[in-house]
């Protein structure tokens, strides 16, 4: 064990002086994030709605065209819920970058906060989907040796922020490694 670690005993005084991750103020994602979520919801509903409309216009011999009105009502309800949910979802996401680690929270019902220390970072990548490109946004994906997929994905960061964060994160990672 190195010298530094010996400082860290189970002393109450030391524990109180630990930096508190629960007190950090989370920065929220880009204000366009709900819009992106709403567009995704729209697309998700549009595809089956269009399909059903075409089927009923053609009077296709499928059972579902007898329930088209129910289907439209369902889609409308889904869209309304989706609209509010998108805002809620975006409101409950946020990230905080500290000197040594990065925190990311997500989840409306199950609140989830993950902390990734920079010196455990394997690699970081920027990802731009078509919708994100439209809004000039990027997602930042951080990988530790934890699993096969990204341990932390921060969606909808303004491109400049995303690049800056990635550079800071990678610089801190290589400094501490």
């Amino acid at each position: 064990m190195s010298e530094q670690q010996i400082d860290f005993t189970n002393d109450d005084v030391t524990l109180d002086s630990l930096p508190k991750a629960e007190d950090v103020i989370m920065k929220s994602l880009s204000p366009s994030y709900p819009t992106i979520l709403i567009i995704v919801t729209l697309l998700m509903t549009a595809i089956p709605v269009i399909a059903i409309t075409i089927l009923s216009l053609l009077d296709a011999p499928v059972l579902i065209i007898h329930y088209t009105s129910w289907f439209y009502i369902g889609a409308a309800v889904f869209l309304i819920i989706g609209y509010f949910w998108s805002h809620l979802d975006a409101k409950h996401r946020g990230y905080a970058i500290r000197e040594q680690d990065i925190l990311y929270k997500s989840g409306v019902i199950w609140r989830n906060v993950i902390a990734v220390p920079f010196n455990r970072l394997q690699h970081a990548e920027l990802h731009r989907g078509p919708l994100e490109r439209l809004f000039k946004l990027s997602s930042l994906r951080l990988f530790t040796a934890g699993g096969l997929k990204a341990d932390m994905t921060i969606p909808a960061l303004p491109e400049i922020d995303a690049i800056r964060i990635r550079e800071f994160v990678l610089a801190s990672a290589s400094k501490s490694a």
Binding site: Q4, L18, Q100, A115, R120, G146, D151
Partner: protein, 517 residues
């Protein structure tokens, strides 16, 4: 990568061979076909023995025809050899300054690029049939994906050693790891006394308490199901007669004989398990020297393995339900990325049949500063039980209401299923315990048996705190701790403790300059 003078010196002796290798795609030695034959047989056995079992039944029920059997056997052997030769022909490898390239696959071709700095485990094995040719199997495992595992079978032992030291050398430029050269061969020369030796009595204990018999029984069940269809040939007139005689004696005799039969089957399974335990772990010795752990065991096939202590991500102290009765524990040293083939490869380092003082001794030896006398583990909140009862009762209630509407109110008797379930939840709740002690985290879970994970906090990759609405109301949380591919979670602990764990763990990780892998 910069070629420092030391680098040249180190690799110099084999520079010629290495540069030759780098130039072109190379094939393995033809002797490797033998390896592929064995590997193919192993794979077939692992993946399709359940499918082959009915075939055996067909053969048995049709009567055993020696000619037919020989013909089928020859056909299978020829097919396996053809597959092995094809695999051999299509397997090529090459090396660059920084990575391994492997092309393989007969139908689905694939090229694998394995970077040196991502290789986390190198192993050199010498099967009996490779020895006369001076060949070996070089196994490379990467830290990332489990599919990036490479077996180079049939390469000269000298080259394997060169590759090993070269890869280790290239890695040590990045991470300071103490490299202990040629540790694979000098096991018998280790002068130190073993830290653990297991005698027959302990191995029998291990055989009895090993969970493997249940796994075995689980595997046997589908085969027995296959037998079920053509079970008639099994019931001979003698058996039928005996059954009728017992039945005539009354229901008590029938139940009694069923229990006796069950006990006989269980006893047989246990005997098999004990025999397997002795076969595998006979003369078990565990050594420790130069930052490595060595193990030696086996009756017929002697196994020697070693592992770098710094590569151990966590140790798991495991006690099965039966192990609890005989007071027997296992310790498993968990490495990275071995979860997929832990049962197949035996690379998981297991110390069998320890008693309480044994596991305490080994864990405190490996993790200095662990003192079990002073570790006070805490229980989780009892809301865990209530939540589990709620989660299971809701679907049961829904089913009950649905059935009641169709039939009558007796359907609500389905809810009585909760009666046996609740004690199970209580038992599971009791097993969850957690503690931080000096540099270490201790997390226990289980049901009747238990499994205690102990690990230094700096090995942790990331930490997650999750709160459901109910947990938020009661100031509780679930923490999930990720240690190189393995996630451990502790449900329903006070949020205060969750925050404390996160703050301490982050501080430990961030202050540590110890390599986690």
């Amino acid at each position: 990568m910069a070629n420092t003078p030391e680098n040249k010196h180190d690799v110099g002796s084999n520079n010629k061979r290495m540069s030759e290798l780098m130039k072109n795609w190379k094939r393995l030695s033809p002797v490797a076909i033998a390896y592929f034959v064995i590997a193919t047989l192993k794979q077939t056995a692992q993946h399709s023995w359940q499918a082959l079992a009915p075939l055996a039944v067909v053969i048995a029920s049709k009567g055993f025809n020696i000619w037919w059997f020989t013909l089928a056997g020859t056909a299978i052997i020829i097919a396996v050899i053809i597959v092995a030769v094809l695999k051999y022909l299509y397997f090529r490898f090459s090396m660059t300054e920084t990575s391994f390239l492997i092309r393989s696959g007969v139908i689905n071709k694939k090229q694998l690029n394995l970077a040196f700095d991502r290789i986390q485990n190198i192993e050199i094995k010498q099967p009996v049939y490779f020895r006369p040719f001076g060949l070996s199997v070089l196994t490379l495992e990467s830290a990332g994906s489990s599919s990036e595992e490479v077996n180079l079978a049939g390469i000269p032992i000298g080259l394997a050693n060169t590759v090993k030291s070269d890869v280790i050398f290239k890695q040590t430029q990045l991470t300071p790891v103490i490299v202990n050269e040629n540790t694979d061969n000098n096991l018998s020369e280790t002068s130190e006394a073993p830290i653990i030796e297991q005698d027959l009595k302990n191995l029998i204990k291990h055989g009895i308490s090993n969970n493997n018999i249940w796994i075995f029984a689980g595997l046997a069940a589908p085969i027995l199901n296959q037998f079920d269809k053509s079970l008639n040939w099994l019931i001979t007139p003698e058996i039928r007669n005996t059954y009728e005689q017992v039945e005539a004696l009354g229901p008590a005799a029938l139940i009694g004989s069923t229990i006796i039969l069950g006990l006989i089957i269980l006893g047989t399974l246990m005997l098999i398990s004990v025999a397997a335990s002795i076969l595998i772990y006979y003369n078990y010795k565990l050594f420790r020297s130069g930052g490595r752990i060595f193990r030696q065991n086996g009756l017929l096939e002697k196994q020697q393995a070693n592992m770098e202590e710094s590569k151990i991500q966590r140790i798991v102290i495991r006690q099965s339900a039966i192990g609890r009765m005989v007071g027997s524990f296992n310790i498993i040293f968990k490495q990275i990325g071995f979860a997929r083939n832990a049962y197949q490869s035996g690379k998981n380092f297991t110390v069998p049949a320890l008693d309480t003082s044994g596991y305490k001794y080994i864990s405190s030896l490996l993790y200095s500063g662990i003192d079990w006398k002073h570790i006070k583990t805490k229980p989780i909140n009892s809301m865990y039980i209530r939540r589990l009862v709620l989660i299971t009762s809701l679907p049961l209630l829904a089913i009950a209401i649905f059935v009641a509407l169709q039939t009558n109110l007796y359907a609500f008797l389905i809810l009585s299923l909760l009666l046996p379930l609740t004690p199970m939840f209580i038992q599971s709740h009791k097993r969850y315990r957690y503690a931080l002690y000096n540099e270490y985290a201790i997390m226990q879970s289980g049901f009747i048996g238990k499994s205690i994970s102990v690990f230094p906090m700096y090995k942790i990759q990331n930490i997650r705190i999750i709160q459901s609405p109910g947990q938020r109301r009661k100031n509780l949380a679930t923490i999930k701790i990720n240690i190189a591919g393995q996630t451990l979670s502790m449900p329903y602990i006070p949020i205060k403790d969750a925050y404390l764990w996160r703050n301490i763990i982050l501080a430990k990780i961030e202050q540590s300059d110890e390599p986690w892998m």
